[in-house]
């Protein structure tokens, strides 16, 4: 089974405020507020860490869920976020460029 890679879409603006991640599509100004799971996924989506590793290291310890079940849910979530053009997903690593001085998971 192929692995899935996820990366933050550079065409969005993002800010985390009091643990609440808000993302605006720069294309059509739609505002999204991410829940806790989506926030973890967004922050870890560096384009090079496979989704199963993100689930194993970041999501399972946070929510005490079975890895297989968590991975299934994370894949569904990742595809949903990709549908909103918040995340990019691929079966290959996705090169990412961050602006100098940019905070992880935030874009300016």
């Amino acid at each position: 089974m192929s692995r899935l890679f996820v990366a933050r879409n550079p065409r969005v603006a993002a800010r985390c405020l009091d643990g609440e991640m808000m993302i605006m599509s720069a294309r059509d100004s739609t505002l999204f507020t991410l829940n806790r799971t989506a926030t973890i996924l967004w922050q870890a989506a560096d384009g090079t860490t496979p989704l199963d590793e993100i689930v194993q290291s970041r999501i399972c310890p946070e929510f005490e869920v079975e890895p297989a079940e968590a991975l299934k849910d994370a894949e569904t979530l990742a595809r949903e976020l990709a549908g909103h053009e918040i995340l990019q997903i691929s079966e290959e690593p996705i090169p990412q460029r961050n602006a100098p001085g940019e905070s992880p998971g935030e874009s300016r």
Binding site: A13, D18, S29, L31, S107, R108
Partner: protein, 271 residues
Amino acid sequence: MPELTAEVERFSLVIAIGGMPIRVNTADPDFLALLEGRYSGFLGSSENAEVEFEVELVRPGFADPAAEVRVTHRMGRWSLTRGDFRAEWEPASRRGWIRQSANPYSIDAVLRIVHSLVLARQGGFLLHSASALRNGKAFLFAGVSGAGKTTISRLAPPDATLLTDEISYIRRHDAGYVAFGTPFTGELAKLGENVSAPLAALYLLAQGPENRIDPVAPGEAARSLLANVLFFAEDEELVRAAFHSAFEFVSRVPVSRLTFVPDARVWELIR
């Protein structure tokens, strides 16, 4: 055979909102008079207008002013269109044109859009909110239609100066913000005063059984602010700028929920 030429006399006025003078030129003296009445209190005499528009008046046709506004940027030029007008503006040359019929609503929309674009680059914005000045401080009252912007404006005591009952003008200044009066009116149909003051608070309006002020979590404050910012441009850089400006704003200006019963006592809380 002598060349036939026609010299068309141009009339001009300067509309200064938020300290930004915009010159409008027209060949129609009646339209000029209409604008002088519409923007009375916001007319300037500056020779150094930041933007200059040539208005070309066309015969009224079927045009829907409620049609969607499109604001796009290409090759250094902004293009603004709605059912009732077309306009272009080139920031580098500070010049542009507007094609519309002789009515005050179309040019009003163009002015709002141009101000929103200029402010977005400077960390400011136009906000769907009433605003007033009291004790040397400005207060914003934001909310969707029906939340009470007109009501709270109507209830303002004599020592409060109304800046607008509909669209507030917010400019970044030093470590804070300044609110300016605007001629952009809502149901009250009363022009704001052309004055400004440092911004003291943003209140999110709600009508309820008692007058009270409650704190608002930063996330909700940012979301509510973004929901009320007037922004039209289909431009990624400017969308990003507006987004981050909203977060900057909520980190510097207190945002609270103001629940009020519709009588003048609510103003006892606003000082």
